[in-house]
């Protein structure tokens, strides 16, 4: 049912079993690209499944063989780090809809052998975790030690434990929400409009037209990048500093360092990310509403699990603010679940979970290591 191959440094699991998606369509024979770190012990009780955020991928730590940059969670994951790969077996897979090897809009539609583009089915967070569940079967893991992720990764954490309540001992949603807010849908829509307004998008068929909607995707990334930072963080890092010039140029070049920084962030993003994947994954986030899945009672999402939860938010995160994380804590407390919560002081905005924030990394490490001893 599952076969594995490695091509261009990307390990891929081919899932033969059909997966019925929330949109009504069914996919089968589809690839899930994944990576692992550390060793699975003989009892198979040291596995941690990590879920990546919107623009992440399976390359959590070490050198990303495709981008040649550090993995997206290198501060938190690795030998001796908070998620210690000397101790734990870490698995992460690229979400379906993504562009790092998992089934997505740049793949060919088996029905007509044409690149999907926007004919790829619209996927949800629920579909994403149901697809990833196949990894447990592949590795023969009956129960994970932990599941962890920030931002959209946190949404997958919540959906996973709701779908598979006895498949993880501990659960770590970070800087996330149980229901995507109007503000966040609005911000995602801004990004999607930037992409589809690019004349090179060509109704999603840019690959077969040898084009790239790079301008649109870069603008989407620039706008999103601002939301990952905080006002204070931006002010401290950039202020009104000028970019390699003595004075204002009275034009529309990047006079300010912040402009130059954003343009750079946009341009490097285009090299590694697919525009249609950006549309699909932001849509999955917008559709995420775990409360609605349980008819308005979020507690019901967790009523069948005995897992130990640890929820973390950051003071300067205005994208997934503390209150939205606390709503999850409240839902868990109201059913007597085992839940801990901490808000970490940080000026680094939503991106805090990806950065070197010692209070966060210490809390994560202590929670995992102490829970593992009690295991």
């Amino acid at each position: 049912m599952l076969t594995m191959n490695t091509e261009n440094n990307i390990k891929t699991l081919i899932v033969k079993k059909p997966l019925k998606l929330d949109c009504g369509k069914t996919i089968n024979n589809f690839p899930i690209a994944y990576e692992t770190y550390g060793l699975l012990n003989s009892k198979k009780d040291n596995a941690i499944l990590i879920f990546h955020a919107l623009t992440g991928d399976q390359f959590v730590t070490g050198l990303n063989p495709i981008t040649k940059k550090d993995g997206w969670w290198s501060y938190a994951v690795g030998p001796g780090k908070a998620i210690d790969t000397n101790k734990y077996f870490v698995i992460c897979s690229n979400v379906i809809g993504g562009c790092m090897g998992s089934y997505g809009p740049s793949h060919k539609d088996p029905d007509n052998n044409k690149i999907f583009g926007t004919n790829f089915p619209v996927i949800t967070i629920n579909d994403i975790v149901n697809a990833q569940y196949n990894l447990l079967e592949y590795f023969g893991i009956d129960k994970l030690f932990s599941i962890a992720g920030g931002s959209m990764g946190g949404m997958q954490v919540l959906q996973f434990i709701s779908n598979f309540p006895d498949k993880s001992k501990t659960v770590i949603p970070i800087a996330t929400t149980s229901s995507h807010s109007a503000q966040n849908i609005a911000l995602n829509e801004l990004g999607r409009q930037a992409i589809t307004a690019d004349s090179n998008w060509k109704d999603g068929n840019y690959i077969s037209n040898n084009a790239t909607p790079g301008k649109g995707l870069a603008v989407a990334r620039m706008a999103a990048h601002i939301t990952y930072l905080s006002k204070k963080g931006l002010q401290e890092k950039f202020g009104r500093k000028l970019q390699e010039r003595e004075d204002l140029k009275f034009g529309f070049d990047a006079d300010f360092q912040i402009e130059s920084y954003l343009r750079y962030q946009g341009s490097v993003f285009v090299d590694r990310f697919d525009a249609n994947s950006y549309l699909y994954i932001t849509r999955a986030m917008d559709y995420f509403d775990l409360t609605k899945q349980f008819k308005g009672n979020l507690s019901d999402a967790f009523k069948n699990t005995k897992a130990k939860f640890f929820i973390i938010s950051f003071t300067s995160d205005w994208l997934y603010p503390t209150q939205e994380n606390k709503d999850i804590v409240i839902a868990l407390n109201s059913i007597g679940a085992d839940v801990g919560f901490v808000e970490i002081e940080s000026d680094k905005g939503h991106d805090s979970f990806l950065l070197d924030v010692p209070d966060f990394l210490n809390a994560l490490k202590n929670f995992l290591d102490k829970s593992y001893i009690e295991n």
Partner: protein, 198 residues
């Protein structure tokens, strides 16, 4: 571990579910978890104290008792513990009623403002009392609503709260407070421990 915590721990039977409100660095929680197999949760406002609890492997929620107790269902804990914090709340009456809603029973400890050293300090020095149990100056104390043991007993009675056990602590001495000795204990105890229920 301080005597107060030992006395609190003796009031709690094994294998119960307990919420420690204002759990600080988790000393009492750790003791209850390890020695009495207590299913223990903490609520703590200080970020650094929350970190200390996490480092001890304790389940703690960062939060404010005046706002965050309402998320817990009625009688969801066998005991709720509040150690020397009631006087620091803006609205102690509300917090007390929340403790008794969330817990089947509550254990509340009170630094006694009626303690003779406190009285002497004010009487002879004429300045706000500073003692071992009340170490802060008037301008930086977190304590907003100081009371004596007598005040507390009168208050809970007026709210029809049942007192199961009242204990007076003076350093390492622990004694039972009853109807007849309340006046004396109110003079000689620096701390009162009350097991109550509504």
């Amino acid at each position: 571990m301080k005597n107060e915590f030992k006395v609190i721990a003796e009031l709690i039977e094994k294998n119960k579910k307990v919420l420690d409100v204002g759990c600080a660095d988790g000393t009492l929680m750790k003791f209850l978890k390890e020695n009495k197999n207590i299913n223990i949760r903490g609520l703590e406002i200080s970020k650094s104290k929350v970190q200390e609890c996490i480092a001890k492997g304790l389940t703690v929620i960062e939060g404010n008792a005046e706002k965050d107790l309402k998320q817990f269902p009625d009688k969801s804990f066998d005991y709720v513990v509040l150690s020397q914090t009631l006087q620091a709340f803006l609205n102690p009456e509300l917090v007390l009623s929340e403790l008794l809603r969330v817990g089947k029973k509550a254990i509340v400890t009170i630094p006694n403002f009626g303690y003779w050293k406190v009285r002497f300090h004010l009487l002879f020095k004429g300045t706000m009392p500073v003692t071992k149990a009340l170490p802060d100056e008037w301008y930086n104390t977190p304590n907003l609503h100081m009371c004596t043991l007598k005040d507390f007993v009168y208050f809970v009675r007026s709210r029809n709260i049942k007192i199961f056990k009242s204990l007076a602590l003076n350093n390492l001495d622990t004694s039972i407070i009853n109807e007849n000795n309340l006046g004396i204990k109110n003079l000689f105890a620096d701390l009162g421990i009350f097991l109550i229920e509504k």
